[in-house]
């Protein structure tokens, strides 16, 4: 979901760049203090790993295939501060070397995938992991966070495209998010399978209490939280609040009815259909998203149940 150049307008690109610039600054400051010297090369290798892992295609139905996005995987394995740095590096190389994702849109892309996926995903992971506890918590948390990261990134990208006037929210939001409700499932499955595979051979690498990049201070948690909320507020809330409420909707439908009466007969049903579709699609998508969230959470719970007995009985 790398947004190419040409799709975002000036204010959106600048906002994205400022937000991810701040997040990157935070991450570098934290790493400079907390990252052990011997782990410095690991940042570059982890970035190369994300790239290499993305080249391995997982088969889906009918000859199509998907691949790992990796933000939550890296956050789980290396911690949030390192995740921002690593994913920023991945996105920069993809842009400058492979022309995948725009150079001016880099800020927005880093924010959607690196900051929200890495730090936001990590926060979700940690909350679930603490609630459920133990290895089960790791698996549940990773699955749920991976799904959320894909969906949230799509929501943000939709907001940015709509804010730029490229495509209306009523179209871009359902189109992007519905697809990513499904992509998120793949991301969650791959993330969990990989985490379990690593846990079996090197349990020390999946220790949730000791991320490689060191713990975050409360001030950093607050700062990241502020940045992510700011992004959501700027990119998404203008549309989320602008959905027509009941009264407005009735008035619009009435107004439309007047025009429809004047219009040629044949065009009317189609126009009406399109309008109601356009109007209801974001609501339906939000609804689907809400149900999806609950379902995926349950699914994560079941997955953790299914996967754990085996990892426990197996000798390390």
């Amino acid at each position: 979901m790398h947004i190419p150049d040409g799709f975002l307008d000036g204010k959106t690109m600048v906002t994205g760049a400022v937000l991810s610039g701040c997040a990157l600054g935070l991450s570098v400051r934290q790493l400079r203090r907390r990252l052990p010297r011997r782990r410095v090369p690991l940042m570059g290798l982890a970035a190369a790993f994300v790239f290499a892992a993305q080249m391995l295609n997982f088969p889906i139905a009918g000859g199509t295939s998907g691949h790992l996005l990796g933000s939550v995987l890296i956050a789980v394995l290396l911690g949030p501060g390192a995740a921002v740095l690593v994913l920023t590096a991945v996105l920069i190389v993809q842009c400058l070397v492979f022309a995948d994702g725009g150079l001016l849109s880099l800020g927005a892309n880093i924010f959607n995938m690196g900051v929200v996926g890495g730090v936001g995903g990590y926060a979700i992971y940690r909350v679930v992991q603490k609630l459920a506890g133990g290895l089960r918590g790791v698996i549940m948390g990773a699955a749920f966070a991976a799904w959320c990261s894909a969906v949230l990134a799509a929501v943000l990208a939709a907001g940015e495209l709509a804010l730029s006037g490229t495509a209306p929210w009523t179209i871009v939001f359902p189109a992007m998010v519905n697809v990513h409700l499904l992509i998120g499932l793949g991301e969650a499955a791959i993330t969990v399978l990989v985490v379990v595979a690593i846990q079996r051979t090197r349990p020390d690498l999946v220790d949730p209490s000791a991320p490689a990049s060191g713990p975050l201070s409360y001030r950093q948690v607050a700062a990241y939280g502020l940045l992510i909320s700011l992004g959501l507020a700027l990119f998404v809330s203008p549309f989320a609040c602008a959905w027509p409420d009941g009264l407005e909707r009735v008035a619009e439908t009435l107004g439309f009815a007047h025009r429809a009466a004047a219009a040629p007969l044949a065009a009317a049903p189609l126009a009406e259909y399109r309008l109601s579709w356009v109007r209801s699609a974001p609501l339906a998508t939000s609804f689907a998203g809400a149900i999806g969230t609950v379902l995926v959470f349950l699914l994560a719970f079941v997955t953790a149940r299914v996967l754990i007995p085996r990892t426990r009985t197996e000798p390390r």
Binding site: L96, L104, T166
Partner: protein, 198 residues
């Protein structure tokens, strides 16, 4: 090697000889002009065609790269069609996106990444990010090849198994790739220390 990164970044031409910072700045200027001003695409297009001619990069190669990347852009652009005046917006976006793509493709194929890194270092991008970028670029294909070898070895042993099994075996390849990356990072750290890094 699976494929080469920027195969034309080291040929000799007037464009290749320009300093990296100048090319990066010019690319940024072209991108900003294309994206922010509604009518800039004609002069930008002319400039880009001139660069293509001067750079001696095979046109066919550029077209292939464009075609490879264009669908990603078109997918999003199609959404713009579903609105009032959509066709005009769609056309405008496609033209803009294509010019931007060509700009970045030209930048990456006339400027070695190592030179871009030096520019980043000079404009005070945090050293940790530049080091991470340098190491990532260096080990991209070392790891990609390692992953591909492991996938092939796995595929030989798990031929014809069900999809869920295929996913598990691929996931274990990805997992092992990560473990190997951390081990390689440790060896690289040792090699850096051996030459005085501290």
């Amino acid at each position: 090697m699976i494929f080469s990164l920027d195969p034309h970044s080291r040929i000799d031409s007037p464009v290749h000889r320009l300093p990296a910072w100048a090319k990066l700045a010019a690319a940024l200027a072209l991108l900003v002009a294309t994206v922010t001003t509604p009518r800039a695409f004609i002069p930008v297009g002319v400039v880009l065609i001139a660069v293509v001619a001067l750079s001696r990069i095979p046109v066919l190669f550029l077209l292939k790269r464009l075609l490879l990347l264009e669908p990603l852009a078109l997918g999003v652009a199609l959404l713009a069609l579903l609105q009032e005046g959509g066709v005009r917006i769609f056309a405008l976006i496609v033209v803009k996106a294509t010019l931007c793509l060509l700009t970045v493709i030209l930048l990456s194929n006339t400027t070695p990444f190592a030179d871009l890194l030096r520019v980043l270092r000079r404009v005070r991008v945090p050293a940790l990010l530049v080091t991470t970028l340098a190491l990532m670029y260096r080990y991209l294909f070392v790891l990609a090849e390692e992953g591909e070898r492991m996938r092939r070895a796995r595929a030989c042993r798990t031929y014809g198994v069900g999809r869920s099994h295929a996913w598990k075996s691929l996931a274990s390849v990805v997992g092992r790739l990560f473990v190997r990356s951390t081990e390689r990072a440790e060896r690289i750290h040792a090699a850096m220390c051996a030459r005085g890094w501290r």
